[in-house]
């Protein structure tokens, strides 16, 4: 994305050609089910305008002419926002979401709307109505892309967009980033506006970029972030130039490796990859130690109580009148919200305060924390249980085990590739930072990517 933006601005590449090539590839690889809606005509029209602007020599935004795509819960004026659901399949947005407007102002071109787990409520990324997004790394078996931003993960990994927008309530950016071998950033809660995006859980939802590198995330985040009067939870803190922070230097960077609860329960290949990544950063001058976070076993209960309550409240009207139109797993998950009491919800928010303090405490003497993004690589679609070493585990809770602590705490967390399984599936790790210090998170991720090539590898596709 960063290089493409430079080439378009320099006039060496035509944005019309770039958009046309992406649209052709989207058609050719439709079997991956990355997109729900393709905005081909509008994208070509925007590309022609972008080309004219380059020819005219006027000022260009940092993403001028760069084709991106959006998880289908972000509003785009005049385009349907389905939330991946039959229930909203005819819902056409009246205006752009704040992040969409900002990305367009930066010059980005919207190619279309991406597949997702229905209403963002599932970490596998499955969708009955529009077809399951397929992980591009295994041509033989239909493997999950991870969710809920499954189409975003597939589109970026398969070259169907230069970058994508995702949302993350329990890991929905970082899980597909991990399973699809791309880089995805969940910013600090309050860094990026949620206005104009369908909610799953107002207090846990985070919007963020999904790209091929940390440098690309830096470029997108700067365009997206900042205070928005339409979202009262956004911060007034100024937005730094994240790209300028990418020095490639991690000398003296204090890295806390999360072993208890995280590395301890990961598959051996995942554990080895993350330990090797920590060693790579150490050889580059980072100071690595091990640290534990308190209350991790209670995170699942607290997260569930909050998300289930808020999601049930948001979906209450449709659950009363159109329950049969939800896909079964999402309907059943939403219905379970009725067993969460007000007391559970408040106790969960108390646990949340302790978890946040615990993460702050671990970062008091460290710059970032390092952990796997998921305990295992992509599983086969429909597989409810899998093996991690000698242990049989349930896929769904395992997928979100390492990511949701940082939705509860609100800290920024970036997933990036750090290896591959023997079967050729990507492995991801998380870099977690202090609130509103995405610059350090991205600096660490970018430095690692300058030392390795895992993020540069692409799946072989027809």
């Amino acid at each position: 994305m960063t290089e493409l933006a430079r080439m378009i601005a320099g006039g060496t590449v035509s944005p019309v050609d770039v958009v046309r090539e992406h649209l052709d590839r989207i058609t050719r690889l439709d079997g991956l089910r990355a997109y729900i809606t393709v905005c081909g005509d509008a994208a070509l029209e925007a590309a022609r305008a972008a080309e004219a602007a380059v020819s005219a020599g006027g000022p260009l935004g940092p993403l001028h002419g760069v084709p991106i795509a959006l998880k289908d819960l972000f509003d785009v004026r005049g385009v349907r926002t389905t939330g991946g659901s039959r229930i909203l399949e005819d819902h056409v947005a009246a205006d752009d979401a704040t992040v969409v407007r900002r990305l367009r102002e930066a010059g980005a071109i919207v190619l279309g709307k991406l597949n997702m787990h229905e209403f963002a409520y599932g970490p596998e990324g499955l969708n009955v109505r529009y077809g399951h997004a397929r992980n591009p790394w295994d041509a033989a078996a239909p493997r999950i892309a991870g969710g809920s931003s499954s189409g975003s993960g597939v589109a970026v990994a398969a070259g169907l967009a230069a970058g994508a927008l995702g949302t993350d309530t329990g890991g929905s950016i970082r899980i597909p980033a991990s399973l699809c071998g791309i880089t995805g950033l969940k910013p600090t809660y309050g860094r990026v506006s949620r206005a104009g995006a369908l909610p799953l859980s107002w207090s846990m939802d985070h919007m963020g970029p999904m790209t091929r590198s940390a440098a690309d995330c830096a470029l997108m985040l700067r365009a997206m972030a900042g205070y928005d009067a339409a979202d009262p939870t956004t911060s007034v803190l100024p937005v730094p130039d994240y790209a300028a922070a990418l020095s490639g230097d991690v000398k003296g960077l204090r890295v806390g490796l999360l072993r208890d609860f995280f590395l301890d329960s990961a598959a051996p290949e995942v554990r080895a990859a993350v330990e090797q990544a920590a060693a790579t950063l150490g050889r580059a001058g980072a100071v690595v130690d091990e640290v534990s976070l308190p209350l991790m076993p209670q995170v699942a209960a607290a997260s569930f109580a909050i998300v289930a309550s808020e999601a049930l409240a948001y979906h209450a009207v449709n659950l009363r009148t159109r329950a049969a139109e939800y896909q079964a797993d999402v309907r059943e998950r939403l219905m379970q919200g009725i067993v969460v009491s007000g007391l559970h919800y408040v106790r969960a928010q108390q646990v949340r305060a302790l978890v946040r303090n615990g993460v702050d405490g671990a970062l008091a003497r460290r710059d970032v924390l390092l952990a796997p993004s998921t305990p295992m690589a992509a599983t086969v679609v429909g597989e409810a249980r899998t093996q991690i070493g000698a242990t049989a585990v349930e896929v769904r809770p395992s997928l979100i085990r390492y990511t949701r602590p940082f939705n509860l705490s609100g800290h920024p967390a970036c997933s990036l590739p750090c290896g591959f399984t023997q079967g050729g599936l990507p492995i991801g790790m998380q870099v977690v930072g202090r609130p509103f210090d995405e610059a350090t998170v991205l600096r660490a991720a970018d430095a690692y990517q300058r030392l390795t090539d895992f993020h540069a590898r692409r799946p072989v596709l027809a």
Binding site: Q336, I338, H344, R352, L354
Partner: protein, 64 residues
């Protein structure tokens, strides 16, 4: 105490909880979630095990 408050371990109590929340789901719809509700109840019981004495809930509203 908290775990028992959330109790909905059979169809009548689950139906009661649903109606209290304003949902008129059918018995068939409720039966479909009964096995998962048992797991949910066990999960929520974990909140009871945490000492939260004096801890203020993490709910905040920003003025700006």
């Amino acid at each position: 105490m908290l775990g028992r408050m959330a109790m909905a371990d059979d169809l009548p109590s689950l139906r009661h909880a649903a109606r209290l929340a304003g949902f008129d789901w059918t018995d068939a719809e409720l039966e479909a979630i009964l096995p998962a509700v048992d797991g949910t109840r066990a999960l929520l019981a974990a909140l009871e095990a945490v000492d939260l004495d004096g801890v203020e809930a993490a709910m905040r509203y920003t003025a700006l």
